[in-house]
């Protein structure tokens, strides 16, 4: 790794952070996390607890002919065995409940569950699972999102109209194998294309990836009289309560969901699977039941990021200004749509195929398709890594074709407040020109572009890419109690690591003007705190943070009304509420420098500069961590991550073969923050958790082309793909590269 000798921090946040508090940030749950005291779901045990194993389908698509559980049931130590016959017609899911708790008639992917066993030990449960005999009749598998939409394709969900959909009517779909379909149009697209100097079309693909949290899913479920208790790794406990109540036919009041510390989420832990079957096993056995997912099963059979094919066409004038844009994104949704929480049932930002630019006219079509593959759900900045890889590669290709510097191309087209963007609405957020100007300076762009290559050394290249992310929206509430001069904030927010509790503490202390040490933050299960929307959608800082601020304000007002100081006001309780519906968005941009070994295609990012518009900084350490972690998350997806599937089976379901970056693989990262433009969150804060990862892939692809002149059209950008392009005969390469009209 290049770098100065001796110790040197590898990142450097410019000293422009404006924390609302001068006090250093010190995680409120930090002590628990560094001493091993912090409790995660798999750490919770109950007396008499049973262990769970599942029987999963080895087929991508099959009819269940018969299940014989007699051998499993006869094994000493087995306390309960259930099959789809016991759970039917229960299905689970976040927005659409289309995933059977246990399958009873058909299995739709490898890993789909048909039976569950509770036993005295995990080993006995697994042994019993091996003794369950399932007779299947194999059916033709639909493994390809294009084939799934053909006229001959078997319909995977013939009973889709009977599925529960939370919150209104499910959007209509033009083909039975679609999970979701949406189109958007604005402006005069045809006129834009008629006026074009040039029109460019390019198609990109992105594979399935796993969130790769280090903590596998875990759940503990028991019945206490009528009340079902659930300890879970789900990051949205109130949503899980609603899903379980609807699916299992239990009143929400009789379900208590307790989500403590969560060992990494990245979108994946919004969907729960085991909890539902465990409820049946707890009832059948009369005992607490716990499951801890084997990591290989987590990778084969939970919810991944969607694989996607993204086709973009853009009309530009002679200066490279965007006149009109059309796009078509096909997401492979896998066997179930259960993992997607949004109303469209598309990955959240599925429609943003040219985000961050002025787009006077656009026609965008996006769909998610049922296939017999691993289900796809939400994953950090859902939809964006796919679309950002495509859009930012596309813009670079257009710039190169027109002979315009890639950064100049972006400067000419980037959105400024009030411009019409890909959504058809006026852009409300970051001044894109400022982000790019800062990037130009911080990355020493002009110098980097003219660095001479020395013979025999790896080729050097620079690449830029930008990205946008909305500031989180939604409603939340929490309780603030004053007792003997101390304030306690009670929240239902689960801790998946973003630093929510420290954020709340700092907001409340700042608003009340008291030392941090006088504010405690406690988390409660769903029976102890007001409803909370959960972590996700870049929501915690603007929404839940907003509720914390509102609570502190209300307490301050009450104290003023009472004419009392905090110390002698007696006991008070207020409920803070926030509703953040502003359509505000942030922008960020990267400049990366890569080294490409031209003999092997091996690519190392040598240095990265990230400029991000973050608004007011409340937690400087956590904010920096989110940006740095987001960059490396993006780096993994850029260079190496891919769930490799063969006939519906994941062939690399472990960290031995599904590689994620280690500490030895991360380059120096310079982070520059723009803090002067306030956002809708507390004190002008914005969201950063999903701000940094999506654009890394394109930045790498663009830098690779800069270095060695070849384009990689799919993620991940592996050494072999670059090598294949470099060794391809020239005439063939030209055809692939001239995808323009």
């Amino acid at each position: 790794m290049p770098g100065a000798p001796g110790f040197r921090p590898v990142t450097n946040v410019a000293d422009r952070t404006a924390s609302v508090l001068g006090d250093p940030e010190y995680r409120v749950e930090g002590r628990d996390k560094v001493t091993g005291a912090a409790r995660y779901a798999a750490d919770v045990a109950m007396p008499g607890m049973l262990h769970v194993a599942f029987v999963a389908s080895p087929y991508a698509h099959a009819r269940i002919v018969a299940i014989d559980v007699s051998d499993a049931r006869a094994l000493p130590g087995v306390r309960a065995v259930i099959t789809g016959e016991d759970t039917k017609p229960a299905r689970l899911g976040r927005r659409l409940q289309d995933w059977p708790v246990l399958c009873w008639d058909r299995v739709l992917f490898i890993g789909d569950r048909v039976a569950a066993i509770a036993a005295d030990s995990a080993a006995i449960a697994e042994d019993a699972a091996r003794r369950v005999r399932v007779e299947y009749e194999e059916l033709p598998a639909v493994l390809d999102a294009d084939a799934a939409r053909g006229p001959q394709a078997p319909v995977l969900h013939p009973d889709a109209s009977s599925y529960r959909y939370f919150g209104g009517d499910r959007p209509s779909i033009p083909h039975p194998n679609l999970q979701a379909y949406a189109v958007h149009r604005h402006g005069d697209v045809d006129a834009g294309f008629r006026a074009a100097h040039r029109v460019y079309s390019h198609t990109f693909t992105v594979p399935r990836t796993h969130q790769a949290y280090i903590e596998p899913r875990a759940a503990l479920v028991w019945l206490d009289g009528e009340v079902l208790h659930v300890v879970t790794t789900n990051k949205a406990p109130f949503a899980l309560r609603q899903q379980m109540a609807a699916s299992l036919g239990i009143a929400e009041a009789n379900i208590v969901v307790d989500a403590g510390h969560i060992g990494g989420d990245f979108g994946g832990k919004g969907l729960s699977l085991d909890e539902f079957a465990l409820a049946y096993l707890a009832r059948a056995s009369g005992r607490p039941v716990r499951s801890v997912t084997r990591y290989a099963d987590d990778m084969q059979a939970t919810n991944t990021r969607h694989a996607a094919t993204i086709a973009l066409t853009t009309a530009v004038d002679a200066d490279g200004r965007i006149l009109a844009h059309t796009s078509r994104v096909v997401f492979d949704g896998g066997a179930y749509a259960a993992g997607k929480p949004v109303a469209t049932l598309l990955p959240g930002d599925a429609m943003l195929t040219l985000a961050g630019y002025r787009v006077p006219a656009a026609s965008v079509e996006a769909m998610s398709v049922y296939t017999n593959q691993v289900p796809a759900g939400h994953s950090r900045a859902p939809g964006q890594p796919q679309n950002a890889f495509a859009a930012e590669s596309h813009i670079d290709l257009v710039a190169r074709s027109l002979g315009i510097d890639p950064l100049v191309m972006r400067e000419r087209n980037v959105v400024r407040p009030g411009d019409i963007d890909i959504t058809g609405a006026p852009w409300h957020g970051t001044d894109g020109a400022e982000v790019l100007a800062r990037l130009r300076t911080a990355a020493h762009y002009a110098e980097a572009r003219t660095t001479p290559h020395s013979l025999g050394a790896p080729a050097i290249g620079s690449g830029v890419a930008l990205g946008v992310r909305h500031v989180g929206r939604g409603r939340a509430s929490m309780v603030l109690r004053l007792s003997r001069g101390r304030v306690e904030l009670r929240t239902g927010v689960a801790d998946q690591g973003g630093g929510a509790y420290t954020l709340f503490q700092r907001i409340v202390a700042t608003e009340l003007g008291i030392p941090l040490g006088r504010v405690t933050v406690t988390r409660g299960a769903t029976d102890a705190v007001p409803n909370d929307p959960g972590v996700g959608g870049s929501r915690v800082t603007p929404v839940q943070g907003g509720a914390a601020l509102d609570a502190a304000r209300k307490l301050r007002v009450r104290l003023a009304e009472l004419g009392r100081a905090l110390a002698d006001a007696g006991d008070l309780e207020v409920i803070g509420e926030a509703s953040q519906e502003t359509h505000d968005a942030s922008m960020y941009a990267y400049a990366l420098r890569v080294l490409v070994d031209v003999e092997t295609g091996s690519t190392k990012v040598e240095h990265a500069t990230l400029v991000a518009d973050v608004g007011t900084v409340i937690n400087p350490v956590a904010l920096r961590g989110q940006l740095e972690g987001g960059f490396v998350f993006g780096l993994g997806q850029a260079l190496m991550e891919e769930l490799r599937l063969e006939d519906g089976r994941v062939t690399n379901p472990s960290f031995a073969d599904y590689k994620i970056p280690t500490i030895a693989d991360v380059p120096p990262l310079q982070v520059e923050l723009i803090t002067g433009d306030p956002g809708p969150g507390p004190f002008g804060a914005k969201s950063v958790g999903e701000l940094a990862n999506p654009a890394v892939g394109a930045a790498v692809a663009n830098a690779v082309q800069d270095a060695v002149g070849v384009r990689v059209w799919s993620l991940p950008i592996t050494a072999e793909k670059i090598w294949a392009e470099l060794t391809r005969p020239d005439e063939v390469r030209e055809v692939a590269g001239s995808a323009e009209d």
Binding site: P58, R131, A296, E646, D647, R649, T651, S654
Partner: protein, 149 residues
Amino acid sequence: MKFTHTATVAAPRAKVWAQVMDVPAAARCVPGVASVRASGNGKYQGTLAVQVGPVRLVLDGDLAITARDETAGTASLRAEAKDSRVGGAIHATMNLALAEKGGETELRIDSDLAVMGRLGEFGQPVIKRKADQLMRDFAECLARQASAR
């Protein structure tokens, strides 16, 4: 996992056809097959012992001829076998085609193999290579036997 194997047999097609359709005899060409017996209706039962590295498997299962067309010289077989100790199973479909070329017969086997359960976690690429080897040995052995008769 899909494989194609071919072998040239120094015998006329009719003779090779008879040889291949004698399933218990032909199955003995698969290294590790312990027993194969007819269970009626074009179905057979058998056991295959195979070692992939340190993993010893004893696969019990069925083999069925699902299609046969002597005129065209084509046949399809389906095999399903399971190792209950390791918790793995294999499923294979094989399409055989015989074509006569100047007194010799070209044997072509297109097979599609699925390795399931925990067994599948022991490196699919390694299993694939092992299966490839097994099918190649099978094709060559069939060719040898038919040539020799």
